[in-house]
Amino acid sequence: MDTHKHRASDAQVNRESARVVRVSPLPGGHCRVRLRAPSIAAAARPGQFVNIATPLGASLLRRPLGVYQTYDQTDIEVLFKTLGKGTVALAGVKAGDALDVIGPLGKGFDLSGKLPETAVLVAGGFGVAPLHPLALALRGKVKRVYLFVGTETELPLDTSDSAMQLSFVDPDVNVTLADFEEPGVIARVATLSERPGFYHGLVTELLEELLSGPEPVGRTKIYACGPWAMLKKTASVAARHGLGCDVLLEERMGCGIGACMSCVVRVKDANGQAAYVRACVEGPVFDAAVVDWEAK
């Protein structure tokens, strides 16, 4: 990894005054907001994010949010959890409102080159959001896509249409766990509380089970997003099985375009030297093997 060049990304960033098309409240304080942002929707790749100014100056800085879905190269949708003033204000927008959005940002998942036969997507909570477009991009291109979601609280997904029943959610909210399953994604959910139909335990145990189990997986690659501890565990499982693993890291961010050096991740460069690299430019997707997992 080129850690000392301080090169700016040459990827163009667009700014849009994006009309809110739909706001969908979801269980557990999650929310999905669909925005008309053609210049961003047309360019966004799985794993990239947008940086959104919060309404009425609720926060000074923009909020970086992963793109959950794009529609017909005209709309993007973000899925997030309301955690502070900024995200609460974002969840409070109404259809027809305008949001100031810049993007697409970051490198996203690298889907060039030879794809694996099996892709295992491992998500912690709303870390499922940026994995959704990846699942859609991989379907049909790889033999099998698994999606494992771990959650301690309510899922940011409607599972009502899924093979697994959970709670009833607004039927207008039409992206569900079944949406992952429909394109041939095998979805499984792990919870720490016992719930019928769900695996009782950690999501990384589902991963272990698959990799050690009888199901044929062939050449496998892991893609993960979620809390640090979960990603660290996932990285160690991947390393133990000798598998490639890309992790999407969500860091506290300033400008989102590479100028301020706030959102850094500690990595080991090609010479084994530790270095801090920007999540917004060199990431947010990193090879789990270069991330210094002891840094947090």
Binding site: H6, Q12, M261
Partner: protein, 321 residues
């Protein structure tokens, strides 16, 4: 006719008074990713603080948002002066950046500052050297030099003897002796002053019950610090404004803020934190500033600089009467 917004700082002819402050603008390349942003929107670019050796910077988290402010502790992460002079500056020259570039240097000893200044003087596209004696996020150097007039003098003097380029001293608000430090920098040969650098601050994470930033403390910027910055610019303009021009900064996000700094005594205006959320801020500020000057009847920006001081003489007479 629109008022003349050109300004001159330390011999640098600037097309407009907007300065991209060090640390907010990388090495001048990142914001060009926006199709509607041009470095020509900026009057001068101050490059990321540069040290002799590459510097990894502070452990994350490096940023926290506070009420109307941003607390950061980057810790001068930079690739070192050799990479800047041999790789980045030629790249900027090749890409046709015509905006004056100002190097920002940070050392741990006066001699290091001098060596940095000398090395940057080899680069044809460095218009001036800004001496960072105010970074709150490094253990050695930075703020330690800028808090006292004696040490500030020593550093600026070392830089002055090492370069023929104009020298700008960047001052900290984290001292009661700002005026003395400013005077000492000018005595040592500084051609202009930049102020303010960030204010030392801390946020404690209630979940972990520990300081949130990896470096524990950080530097506060953004609208929250603006009144502090205005007071410092006003105070220093009053004391030494006749000896060196001031690049005023601290929470400027719109034309009203910018005009306030001009009235307090700033001849140029740093716009930093605002760029993080609005890359169009420079253009918006220039058009609004022009309207302010026009409305007040000023033909040139320089006519308005320090106008908030015009009643000082009368007030002083009143007090002694």
């Amino acid at each position: 006719m629109s008022p003349d917004l050109r300004t001159k700082i330390a011999g640098i002819e600037m097309a407009n008074p907007i300065v991209a402050p060090s640390g907010t603008f990388g090495f001048g390349e990142d914001f060009c990713r926006f199709a509607d942003f041009d470095n020509a929107d900026i009057g001068a670019i101050v490059l990321k603080g540069t040290t002799l050796k590459p510097r990894p910077g502070n452990p994350p988290p490096r940023i926290a948002e506070t009420p109307s402010g941003v607390l950061n502790s980057i810790g001068l992460q930079n690739p070192g002066v050799e990479a800047v002079v041999t790789e980045i500056l030629p790249r900027l020259a090749d890409s046709g950046v015509r905006t004056p570039l100002i190097a920002n240097i940070a050392g741990e000893t006066p001699d290091e500052y001098a060596r940095l200044a000398a090395r940057f003087s080899d680069a044809p596209n460095i218009a001036a050297i800004e001496v960072n004696i105010s970074c709150p996020n490094v253990r050695h150097g930075g703020l330690a030099f800028g808090a006292e007039p004696e040490s500030a003098f020593e550093v600026v003097k070392a830089v002055r003897s090492a370069t023929s380029r104009p020298v700008i001293a960047k001052l900290t608000p984290n001292t009661a002796r700002t005026v003395h430090v400013a005077g000492a920098c000018i005595d040592a040969g500084a051609d202009a002053l930049s102020l303010i650098n960030t204010l030392v601050g801390m946020v404690i994470d209630l979940k972990t019950a520990l300081p949130l930033l990896g470096n524990k403390t950080g530097g506060l910027s953004g609208p929250a610090v603006r009144p502090v910055a205005i007071a410092k610019v006003y105070e220093i303009f009053d004391a030494v404004g006749h000896r060196a021009p001031i690049i005023g900064m601290g929470g400027i996000s719109n034309a009203d803020d910018a005009y306030e700094f001009v009235l307090a005594g700033a001849s140029a205006l740093g716009v930093g934190t605002a760029l993080f959320y609005n890359h169009r801020a420079p253009r918006e500020i220039l058009s609004g500033l022009s309207a302010h000057l026009k409305q007040a009847g000023y033909k040139r920006l320089s006519d308005a600089v320090g106008r908030a001081h015009r009643n000082n003489h009368r007030q002083k007479n009143d007090e002694t009467a």
